[in-house]
């Protein structure tokens, strides 16, 4: 098997069908790609593009599936393999090709210590310790005796990387390895992966939906859509001058710290265009102006007669702690310490922080879903119907057995039926949803549609304050892009006050007038969104800025 070969992974004409459903689902359609030793190839695509199926196939994880058929060839480190048959994978899977999976919590056996898992691969305790040091784990002796749930997400992913690299594979498959992690942790893990790749000289197949990550990590990228390779080439070329319309839209949808805040983001999007026309304030040659970069949000801003000034939301000295532990070991964990936060009328404020920073607790307190232990919470309800929330997981925020119409109408219980239906229709049109969808249940809608229903529900009676809890982070980039555009449109048209909670500085910058950075339950700084990258001075803020991939 020592014949000369060009790559550690060579895939030629690979097609994979799932036959459990009729008609069979063609998950991968005639895909060819090569990974050279020491090279990092990105496999980029939105959900359902088939990228993860390829990832599973090239490490022999489809051999035991009963309803899978495949054509084409896969060669790993010079060994020809059948992705649907077990023969030949012995000694390749886990040795020549290994994987770092997305969710390090569920990917590690909860009943085993790290040491037990790692020593199975490394062979000895000394080697395990050495590997934990190699993946930059402080105090490796303790970690060796720990169970996965006792470690942080970043630590678990480091352990996962040690497991995958310990046998010195020729090919490493990285399947969304940083998606479940905080941005600053993500940056560390990506650096670690790059360093280890250079040190060990293995090829990496990097599967991700995140264009920024792919651009930062990969020498070459292959863009997938509906199971087909749309475009491939050097990363700089694909991201710098995409040739295919799909890639162009994808690249244009990506937010950076230099994206123009004054105009709609991405390429002209039929959904957003429809919503813009509904406002009645749209210029005639809408689509062309957007394309030319000549469409400004300011043209949708309505004249407002009421007095300006005043605050919609004022938090003063808000503290909150939660009880942890039980009967004998009751302890309190402080989540917020003296938070002061104001949102002026018609202002949009983004609250940016990582998981555990307390940002979601603030949102829940403002929403009235939690109560503060101390401090004042004031919402000016004269400006609209209270506080409304758009959650991250729109699917889960809509009661599955009620129709879209029923869900929206719940906020209109006092109105006569005719007027209620009218208002529901209007709200759906505002977010560019077909009013006929009022009869559907959430399960029948796509992810993007569900998020728009959630927005329609929030604005069917315009609220005094709209809270957004990471409304785009669970969506594919192009869908996220249109949701952000819709929110911006509603903000300008209805003059909504918005508190936008997110971990994503680039998204925060698009939607907000001001960005507040929160860390460990305290707001560490407040800067204008327009000059964020220069004005941010706090250490934590700078770290978040640095973690945003250019």
């Amino acid at each position: 098997m020592s014949k000369p070969h060009a790559g550690v992974l060579e895939v030629a004409g690979l097609s994979i069908r799932y036959t459990s459903r009729t008609p069979a689902v063609l998950a991968v359609d005639d895909v060819s790609l090569t990974v050279a030793p020491g090279q990092c190839v990105g496999l980029v695509g939105e959900s359902g593009s088939g990228k993860s199926t390829i990832g599973a196939a090239v490490q022999g994880l489809l051999t035991r599936e009963t309803h899978v058929e495949a054509d084409g060839t896969v060669r790993v480190d010079g060994v020809d393999l059948d992705v649907t048959a077990e023969a030949g994978w012995d000694g390749v899977r886990g040795h020549r090709v290994t994987t770092v999976f997305q969710d390090p919590m569920s990917s590690l056996d909860p009943t085993m210590t790290v040491g037990r898992m790692l020593t199975r691969v490394t062979g000895s305790k000394q080697e395990s310790l050495r590997w934990l040091e190699a993946v930059e784990i402080r105090d490796p002796g303790t970690v060796l005796r720990a169970y996965p749930h006792q470690l942080s997400g970043g630590m678990r992913q480091r352990v996962m990387i040690a497991l995958a690299l310990a046998r010195g594979p020729a090919l490493l498959v990285a399947d969304e390895p940083t998606t479940a992690l905080d941005v600053s942790v993500q940056a560390q893990i990506l650096r670690l992966l790059t360093r280890e790749r250079e040190r060990l000289g293995c090829g990496v197949l990097f599967i991700t939906h995140d264009l920024g990550v792919a651009r930062a990590m990969c020498d070459e990228v292959a863009v997938m859509r509906h199971g087909r390779l749309v475009e491939r080439g050097p990363a700089a070329t694909v991201f710098g001058a995409p040739a295919e319309p799909y890639t162009q839209r994808l690249v244009a949808s990506r937010l950076t710290l230099s994206t123009d805040r004054q105009r709609p983001i991405g390429l002209p999007d039929p959904t957003v265009l429809t919503a813009m026309r509904e406002t009645g304030a749209a210029p005639d040659d809408l689509e062309h102006r957007w394309e030319r970069g000549d469409l400004h949000w300011s043209s949708f801003t309505r004249e407002r007669t009421e007095v300006r000034g005043g605050h919609t939301l004022e938090l003063a000295g808000v503290t909150k702690s939660f009880r942890t532990g039980g009967l004998f070991g009751a302890a309190h964990k402080t989540v917020l310490t003296g938070v002061d936060l104001r949102v002026a009328r018609h202002q949009s404020v983004a609250l940016v922080g990582e998981s555990g920073s307390g940002k979601s607790t603030i949102l829940r307190i403002v929403a009235g879903l939690e109560t503060a232990d101390a401090g004042d919470v004031y919402v000016d309800r004269t400006q609209g119907a209270g506080v409304q929330v758009v959650f991250q997981d729109a699917g889960a925020s809509l009661t599955p057995w009620r129709t879209v119409g029923q869900l929206l109408a719940e906020r209109l219980e006092d109105l006569p039926k005719k007027e209620r239906d009218q208002r529901v229709r209007l709200a759906l049109e505002r977010v560019a949803l077909d009013p006929a969808l009022a009869g559907s249940r959430p399960g029948q809608l796509s992810g993007g549609q569900r998020q728009r229903v959630a927005i329609a529900r929030a604005i069917v009676v315009p609220p005094a304050l709209l809270l957004c809890d990471e409304p785009t982070s669970a969506l594919d980039v192009s869908v996220a892009c249109s949701v952000l555009n819709l929110l911006n449109l509603l903000r300008h048209e209805l003059g909504l006050s918005i508190l936008f909670v997110t971990h994503d500085l680039a998204a925060a910058r698009i939607i907000a007038d001001r960005v507040d950075v929160i860390s460990d339950g305290t707001i560490v700084e407040q800067v204008p969104a327009a000059s964020m990258s220069t004005d941010m001075t706090s250490e934590y803020g700078r770290r978040l800025l640095d973690a945003v991939l250019a």
């Binding site: 899977r93 886990g94 990917s107 009967l327 004998f328």
Partner: protein
């Protein structure tokens, strides 16, 4: 771990106390203890005298304290059915039931593991198998026991169906005949006791065994489909190593906690089974007490069986915490 154990034992004590109160209430207010002793035709004077003698005219908490102190002194009254002290009856019968219960647990685990193995084998007989398992789980213990008697005694003459031994009570220490036989080196005696055990223990263990098999099989298939099993495969583990190292470990804890709950079902099956196989244990005693309307004795036996169940479950929980780090820290 220590904290978990302390907490579990604290809640055990609370439950035991509640059981005591319940049993006390039943033995005081259930039935009429005075009429039970004196018969229905006793004179009003005799009844009143008896009430005073039994302390029934005292306030309730005095009665309860009295009840507790008599429990502590093992003064449990006289059985109406056998006219012997209840404490003596219990002392004789506890080893009999304990022996049967231990073998029942053993058979349940054995049946559970074997059936779980068959369950996970995919075959075109899986539907038929499911029907058989369902039937076994649905059948009342007395039907299985009666069926066993018909097949293995009446038809085949393979196994005895009455009592604990063909020889006579054991002279050993434990009162568990198989163990005594082995300890004294009397092998034929142990074998005979074992033959007497098989049918009653199997009859009581079939239902719990099937339930255990289902949980075990479910747990196995869940953990074999899990992300950590995928990780293990991607690290080059063979399918049987994934099953051994990850599947069984993760499926063990739900199975173990179910086993604890199933002990309750086993106990009630044992009551019925002891009656059918003339097994001189607590269950048989319980049925006799029910037949004699001896509510106080029924309550005492229930207390004993209930306490056994509660203690077993506390032990299972502590064992679980040892096996599974998640239990201990949750």
């Amino acid at each position: 771990m220590l904290r978990f154990t302390v907490r579990r034992i604290a809640s055990l004590i609370v439950v035991l106390f509640a059981l005591l109160v319940l049993v006390f209430l039943i033995s005081r207010y259930g039935g009429d203890p005075v009429r039970g002793y004196l018969g229905a035709n006793a004179s009003a004077d005799a009844v009143a005298a008896m009430r005073t003698r039994l302390g029934l005219d005292q306030p309730i908490w005095v009665q309860f304290a009295d009840y507790l102190s008599r429990l502590a002194r093992l003064d449990l009254g006289t059985s109406l059915a056998t006219r012997r002290p209840v404490a003596a009856e219990l002392a004789q019968r506890i080893p009999a039931t304990a022996e049967l219960a231990l073998w029942t647990v053993f058979f349940s685990v054995l049946i559970g593991i074997l059936l779980a193995r068959v369950y996970t084998l995919k075959s075109r007989f899986s539907g038929v198998l499911r029907l058989i398992l369902f039937s076994a789980a649905s059948a009342p213990a007395f039907l299985i026991a009666t069926g066993g008697v018909l097949i293995f005694f009446v038809q085949l003459h393979w196994l005895p169906v009455s009592g604990r031994t063909g020889y006579g009570p054991s002279t050993g220490l434990s009162g568990m005949y198989v163990l005594d036989g082995l300890l004294t080196g009397n092998l034929p005696y142990a074998m005979d006791a074992l033959r007497h055990l098989i049918l009653p223990a199997l009859a009581a263990s079939l239902g719990p065994g099937v339930a255990l098999a289902r949980v075990l099989a479910d747990g196995l298939s869940t953990s074999l489909r899990s992300a950590y099993a995928r990780t293990a495969r991607s690290l080059g583990e063979t399918e049987s190593a994934v099953l051994r190292r990850h599947g069984l470990r993760n499926a063990a804890s739900p199975a173990l906690s179910l086993l604890g709950v199933q002990v309750g079902m086993m106990l009630s099956s044992l009551v019925v089974v002891e009656q059918i196989f003339s097994w001189n244990g607590l269950g048989q005693f319980l049925v006799r007490a029910i037949g004699g309307a001896d509510t106080a004795t029924v309550a005492t036996i229930s207390l004993l069986l209930g306490a056994f169940y509660v203690v077993v479950n506390a032990l299972v929980d502590i064992a679980l915490a040892v096996v599974d780090p998640r239990v201990r820290l949750s």
